[in-house]
């Protein structure tokens, strides 16, 4: 992975997430579709770069995101994205990176991240919603949208961010 470009890309994605995304989502769905673009980037890092870079990427950009939306507390996304980035890296190192597997990673990772964040807010008594409701209302649609965005990003990420290396057997079309 070209880590410098990944960091730059993630910063741009974070800005897009906070300033462009709210306008693209139709008004009726604005509380349901809340895609985390930096998290998708973290999963790409996990898939192509391994678990340690993914952990650092998730931790750093999660904390940055928490800081930018700081209303009640800092930390849920930093924790969630770090942990899930690491787990996704671990899984993709075991199984190898294919697009079918990546789809599963994005779906399961998205659901897990929102679940972790929900649990933290529940733990601190900041939300009194039921999990089943949150899942139907926000987690599931968001995970599906994230999958769509991840698939759209797949080709550009492979093309521009993955270093062509012969040793790992990962060939990128250049």
């Amino acid at each position: 992975m070209r880590m410098n470009w990944v960091v730059l890309g993630a910063i741009i994605l974070l800005i897009v997430e906070n300033s462009v995304m709210p306008w693209i989502v139709p008004p009726g769905w604005s509380e349901r579709l809340l895609p985390h673009l930096c998290f998708i980037m973290t999963l790409f890092v996990a898939g192509f770069g391994g678990r340690h870079p993914a952990f650092l990427c998730g931790l750093g950009f999660g904390l940055l995101q928490d800081l930018l939306s700081y209303g009640h507390l800092i930390g849920p996304y930093g924790f969630g994205m770090g942990l899930i980035g690491y787990l996704a890296g671990l899984a993709s190192e075991r199984k190898g990176m294919t697009i079918g597997f990546f789809i599963w990673i994005v779906l399961v990772g998205g659901v897990l991240l929102d679940t972790v964040v929900y649990s933290i807010y529940k733990l601190f008594g900041l939300t009194d919603l039921q999990y089943a409701y949150v899942f139907y209302w926000q987690v599931a649609p968001t995970a599906l949208l994230q999958l769509l965005i991840a698939l759209l990003m797949y080709v550009p990420v492979r093309k521009f961010l993955v270093k062509p290396s012969l040793s790992s057997g990962e060939e990128s079309p250049e």
Binding site: S69, G71, G75, Y77
Partner: protein
């Protein structure tokens, strides 16, 4: 090896819980936080406004046919408004005269003279449990924590964190009296100035609720609800919304009204920061 990994995870969990507990309900920010927020806020502003303008344009094209009808309504409203203006001027002059006669102090006279700072929204977050927006005014412009934020339509939220050039606004849909730092919005009906109720947001139905209304002030659908300024942070006289329906409250002695918020909370572009005149300490 496995144990070591688990150990690190546990340590991480503890560190994060400590961090979250420490940052819970904190008001002062350190300079790195302010710097990062200001930097991102500024860059976001460059994107948010043009994108918003384009998105609004297409949305407006969509409802072009409704605009004629709306214009008609506006004309009627303006006519009504000029009528009210005359009445208002008379009442204000009267009020001033009475205040002079009763020897109000300068502070009491100025209590309701709010100043409005126009702010541009430069971003909104994708965290479902912290619905905050960022505005491009900060402590340099005189914004302080816990100032009320409104749009032309009505109350939107409360300034929660102030940086040098930007501020974070918590929407009223995120203020819940049961939270540790809860800020109940005390409200009153426009027609019945003595009435009292507390505004809460119900996550499940996505509506504002006004609870603890006295039984003699039965809410009627269509009543306008404004902030009362009694014992809360919000200055009085800001429109919150209109009553949609009402029911008997939990204890049976009070009413609960479902309120349609006057302001829309998504796709915000310009908001006003309400600056209440300072109380001079003697």
């Amino acid at each position: 090896m496995r144990n070591k990994r688990l150990f690190i995870l546990m340590i991480g969990l503890i560190v994060f819980i400590a961090l979250m507990g420490f940052t819970l309900g904190r008001n002062r920010l350190t300079w790195p936080e302010k710097f990062l927020n200001d930097a991102f806020g500024t860059v976001q502003g460059v994107l948010y406004r043009p994108v918003g303008a384009v998105a609004e344009f297409f949305r407006d094209l969509d409802r072009l046919s409704a605009v004629y009808k709306e214009n008609e309504q506006f004309r009627q409203t303006v006519a009504q408004y000029t009528q009210d203006q005359i009445k208002f001027n008379l009442l204000e002059a009267d009020n001033k005269r009475l205040q002079e006669e009763l020897n109000f102090t300068e502070r009491q006279k100025n209590m309701d003279n709010y100043r409005y700072l126009i702010a541009q929204v430069v971003g909104s977050t994708s965290n479902p449990y912290e619905r905050t927006i960022t505005i491009n005014l900060g402590s340099r412009d005189g914004v302080k924590p816990e100032m009320a934020i409104r749009t032309v339509d009505g109350l939107v939220g409360l300034v929660s964190k102030v940086k040098n050039f930007t501020s974070t606004v918590t929407l009223i849909t995120d203020l819940n009296p049961s939270y540790s730092k809860g800020t109940p919005v005390s409200a009153t009906f426009l027609g019945i100035p003595e009435s009292f109720g507390i505004i809460e947001y119900d996550d499940e139905t996505g509506t504002l609720q006004m609870t603890k209304i006295d039984e003699k002030d039965k809410p009627i659908a269509g009543d306008k609800v404004i902030t009362s300024g009694l014992g809360s942070l919000f200055p009085k006289g800001i429109i919150v919304g209109t009553v949609k329906s009402s029911q008997v409250g939990d204890s049976g002695l009070t009413y609960t009204a479902i309120i349609e918020p006057a302001a829309k909370f998504n796709h915000l572009r310009e908001v006003f920061v309400v600056v209440v005149p300072e109380v001079e300490e003697p």
